[in-house]
């Protein structure tokens, strides 16, 4: 199968690939087709660009050859000089198991993205850590950069079944305690939580100098509420339920959802966090490609050194 074909695979077809590692590689290969270049750099000092000399710059960084050609002083700038550590937080609460019947579950979709991202990073010798739930416990894989570690990550994620009411807030609190050095923190969740608590925890992470990439995974049913029948809606995480006519309640639901999303986006934008809402019918390769080449991402990476 050529990579060009893989790039066009729909999520439902991708999820047919049972092995998560294979699936991740398919996603990554699809994402790197064409002009896409990985923005993640590390491992050695590499030239990045020239900049006009300003008084105070170190003289050793003046490019004398360029001075000879242009008769102007320029200093050389270099990119990351240290290995990247990426902490990936995957929400495995009950709500991530939606939909339970046909279709791509949010958790499966998020797992694919996690695996693909890990694949890319480990291929670049960056260290990747994955944190998620299993039952009442938090599963934490410490950052490693060995290629063999990727297999372990995939295995852990695959064996994780979303259930219970352990939401992303718990993972964030765990991350606060564990991540000491400045790192890349990537969050995959539906963020159907209290926004104030969420933002409080994200702000803490950001204040510690972590780079944050946040992906909100939603199903199209949540975004569009296309129901037309009379249902007893039951919560996937707790015993709450409500009996309602879908058509009658749709407008109010959409209003409440829109309000939540607007607040979430505004809060993320306010603190300058890279936030993206993804629905499960989008191509994971496209999501990864956007992640690699997004302007926000490049800007953030520059801040790393």
């Amino acid at each position: 199968m050529s990579t060009s074909h893989i790039a066009g695979l729909s999520p439902s077809v991708l999820m047919g690939i049972k092995n998560l590692l294979v699936r991740a590689r398919s996603v990554v290969e699809g994402a790197l087709v064409g002009e896409h270049v990985s923005p993640f750099r590390g491992g050695s000092i590499e030239f990045a660009q020239h900049r006009s000399y300003s008084p105070g710059d170190e003289l050793r960084y003046i490019d004398w050859r360029l001075f000879a050609r242009t008769d102007h002083y320029h200093v050389k700038q270099f990119e990351v000089t240290t290995n990247l550590r990426a902490y990936i937080l995957l929400d495995s609460s009950g709500s991530m198991s939606y939909p339970e019947g046909q279709g791509v579950a949010k958790h499966d979709y998020a797992a694919t993205l996690v695996a693909a991202l890990s694949y890319i990073l480990i291929q670049q010798s960056d260290a990747v850590s994955v944190t998620t739930h299993r039952d009442d416990d938090v599963i934490f894989l410490p950052p490693r950069s060995q290629v063999a570690y990727l297999q372990q990550i995939c295995q852990i994620i695959e064996n994780t079944k979303p259930a219970g009411d352990h939401d992303i807030l718990q993972l964030l609190k765990f991350a606060q305690d564990r991540i000491v050095q400045r790192s890349l923190v990537v969050l995959f969740s539906d963020f159907l939580v209290d926004l104030d608590q969420l933002m409080a925890k994200i702000r803490i992470l950001q204040s510690r100098g972590h780079d944050l990439m946040i992906y909100q995974i939603l199903h199209r049913d949540e975004l569009e509420f296309p129901f037309s029948r009379f249902y007893r809606f039951e919560s996937m995480e707790d015993p709450r339920f409500m009996v309602a006519d879908s058509k009658q309640i749709r407008a109010q639901y959409m209003e409440a959802l829109q309000e939540h999303q607007d607040q979430l986006r505004a809060a993320m934008r306010k603190i300058g966090v890279d936030f993206q809402t993804v629905h499960t019918e989008e191509s994971p390769s496209r999501v990864i490609a956007n992640c690699l080449n997004g302007p926000m991402r490049a800007k953030k990476l520059r801040k790393l050194y």
């Binding site: 009950g94 709500s95 991530m96 939606y98 339970e100 949010k106 539906d190 159907l192 199903h219 049913d221 949540e222 129901f227 037309s228 029948r229 009379f230 249902y231 007893r232 809606f233 039951e234 919560s235 996937m236 995480e237 709450r240 339920f241 409500m242 009996v243 309602a244 006519d245 058509k247 009658q248 309640i249 109010q252 639901y253 209003e255 409440a256 959802l257 939540h260």
Partner: protein, 662 residues
């Protein structure tokens, strides 16, 4: 039952409100069934649910309200609402041409609420006219005399006359006034006029309720009696019992569905009072017979307890006759008064040895024993299958006003009798046998012989009476009447008015030899009636009982001299001949007249009473009368109902779609 200005013909339909339990039950029981569905964003749903629940409750309450309203409206519809005209101007164009047809018959003198209906009618008319412009075209027609007020043209003019209007004792119906009203509309060329009929609402108000009404006339039929039934137990007729001068028959009419017990008081001139308790078990008409031991006194006052119509509670009765009738029976049989002789049957019909109690004095003789002293004593001479030894005595008797009766048989000498009959234009022929015997029948019910007993009773009395042999009699140009004859017209009884007395010839036997009459029910009343007929002299035969309507029809009210008028009428402001006892001079003879109210006027059965049997309502509706405005109100209610049903259906359909869809 009335609610605001709306009344209901069938208030029992409100029992249908019990059906209100159905929508309430549905409301309480309504729980939509739902499919389970696990959904992550339950928070947003719960947030939206607060608004939704409020809306749901409102919708369900509205739905229940609509259903309740529909049940209520259905109940109202089945309760047959109508607007009682007396409350408002519904349908009355204030200054449109108006004709008031006022029932001024005596039944309007009923006073169910203490005030007489005529006064109530007068007030209603005043209220009506005072709301109109004074010059608006208005006519007044009285049922008793539709032509009485031709010059009244405006409301003011009618208002001026109103206080002077009087009811009459007559039993006028509204028919003539109704025709007069329509004629006025045609003459005036009115395109749309209102005819307001004000009556007591009795069934007797119309001789024939009109079937149709002209389109140009809006007829409003207003009954002033209200919804409460009238109580009236009245004396419709008091008369002598047929063939029994010592008994009176009292006809009572229960014209208002009265059921309580009542006492009939009979007062004699000497102060004697008899109280006769009667059960009044909802009968319509009944007759009580009172036999008096001695002669019926000169006058007898009968009183009933007071009720809603007091004018028929008192009657003063004057007996037809207080004189004992002397009867001379001349029996041709050699053994008079023996069983099966003519005189036995004849005497038996008059009470045998107790005939004196019935007002008869009998003397039975053979033709040989007949003499002048006996004919002078007798009022009536009965020649039963007898020879005629002295025809001159019979002729003299007739000339002096006595009555003579002749019955036939084998012993009759035809030549001798024809000599007597020829003086009166009669002729006797041979006897004739009929095989098989044939029935005879009454040909002239209006003959004075039959006046006191109903025609139907006479038919029953003569049932089974057949004639096997009779003597052929011819009347020629004598002017004799033939009240009883065979079916082919062959005379069986001939009566002839002689110069002063009366002659009656029975062309068959008075016993069972030639006919079966002596064994029929009619024999006794017939003999008594014919004795009474033959014994009546001028002054006696002039006794007459008349109704008020008959007095008015014969236009003899001015000729009547009151002898006794019941107390209740004396201070009454009422027109027309008052019930009571009168005398009248006719051909130098004094006629004795007893006037009574028309029996129909005592009957207060109303259209509303008929409406209970679904007849009265139809009668009025067919007549196009708006006695109830239900005809106008009901379509409005129906449209309202239909609109609400439509709305309810839409709401129910929407709710069902929302809540029941899958």
């Amino acid at each position: 039952m009335s609610l605001f200005n709306i009344s209901f013909l069938a208030p029992l339909a409100f029992l249908g409100l019990l059906a209100l339990a159905i929508p309430i039950y549905l409301h309480m029981r309504h729980k939509p069934r739902a499919e389970r569905y696990r959904f992550p964003a339950i928070d947003f749903l719960l947030k939206a649910d607060k608004k939704r629940k409020r809306r749901f409750r409102v919708e369900q309450m509205l739905l229940m309200l609509f259903r309740i309203m529909i049940v209520c409206l259905l109940a109202i519809l089945f309760a047959k609402p109508y607007v009682d005209e007396k409350f408002g101007d519904s349908g009355l164009k204030t200054n449109a041409p108006l004709i008031v047809l006022l029932d001024d018959s005596v039944s309007m003198m009923a006073a169910p609420g203490g005030e007489r209906l005529f006064e109530e009618a007068r007030l209603q008319i005043r209220d009506l006219l005072e709301r109109r412009a004074g010059a608006s075209p208005t006519r007044l027609i009285l049922a008793g005399n539709p032509e009485a007020h031709p010059k009244l043209k405006t409301a003011d003019q009618v208002l001026d006359v109103l206080p002077r209007l009087k009811p009459t004792t007559g039993g006028h119906t509204l028919d003539a006034g109704y025709e007069k009203a329509l004629a006025i509309v045609r003459e005036e060329g009115w395109n749309q006029a209102i005819l307001r009929i004000i009556t007591d609402g009795s069934l007797s108000a119309w001789r024939q309720v009109p079937v149709e009404k002209p389109s140009a006339v809006e007829v409003i039929y207003a009954s002033v009696r209200g919804e409460k039934p009238l109580r009236n137990l009245g004396l419709s007729k008091v008369d002598q019992a047929p063939g029994d001068t010592n008994s009176i028959e009292v006809s009572l009419q229960n014209g208002g569905d009265q059921r309580e017990q009542a006492n009939l008081i009979l007062s004699m001139p000497d102060g004697t009072r008899l109280s006769h308790p009667m059960r009044v078990d909802g009968f319509a008409q009944t007759v009580h017979r009172f036999g008096l031991e001695e002669r019926v006194p000169a006058t007898l006052t009968l009183r009933l307890p007071s009720d809603d119509f007091d004018l028929d509670n008192e009657v003063v009765y004057a007996p037809r006759s207080n004189r004992k009738v002397n009867i001379l029976v001349v029996d041709g049989d050699s053994h008079p008064e023996a069983i099966h002789s003519e005189s036995f049957f004849f005497k038996n019909a008059l009470g045998l040895d107790e005939s004196d109690l019935y007002g008869y004095a009998l003397n039975v003789v053979t033709p040989a024993g007949l003499d002048r002293s006996k004919t002078d004593w007798a009022d009536v001479i009965c020649m039963l299958n007898a020879d005629l030894p002295q025809s001159d005595m019979l002729t003299e008797a007739l000339d002096t006003g006595k009555g003579v009766m002749v019955t036939m048989g084998e012993r009759m000498d035809r030549d001798a009798w024809n000599q007597f009959f020829s003086k009166y234009g009669l002729e006797m022929w041979e006897a004739k046998s009929l095989e098989p015997p044939r029935p005879a029948e009454i040909k002239q019910y209006d003959h004075p012989l039959f006046s006191s007993i109903d025609e139907s009773d006479w038919r029953g009395y003569l049932d089974g009476f057949t004639v096997g042999r009779f003597t052929i009699m011819t009347a020629g140009q004598s002017g004799a009447k033939v009240p009883i004859a065979l079916a082919d017209g062959t005379p069986l009884l001939l009566t002839h008015q002689a110069s002063a007395g009366r002659l009656a010839v029975w062309a068959s036997s008075a016993d069972l030899d030639w006919n079966s009459f002596a064994l029929s029910f009619g024999y006794v009343p017939f003999v008594r009636q014919i004795v009474a007929y033959l014994s009546e002299r001028d002054e006696n035969m002039s006794y007459q009982g008349m109704t008020v309507s008959e007095v008015l029809e014969q236009d003899i009210a001015a000729e009547l001299n009151p002898k006794y008028i019941p107390e209740v009428y004396r201070d009454l402001d009422i027109a027309g001949p008052l019930p009571g006892i009168y005398t009248r001079q006719v051909n130098k003879n004094t006629q004795f007249i007893q006037v009574r109210l028309d029996p129909e006027e005592l009957n207060f059965k109303s259209f509303e009473a008929l409406a209970d049997t679904n007849q009265g309502e139809n009668v009025l509706e067919q007549a196009g009368f708006r006695s109830f405005v239900r005809a106008e109100l009901a379509p409005q209610v129906q449209w309202l109902l239909f609109a609400l049903i439509l709305v309810e259906t839409c709401v129910a359909a929407r709710v069902s779609l929302n809540w029941g869809g899958r």
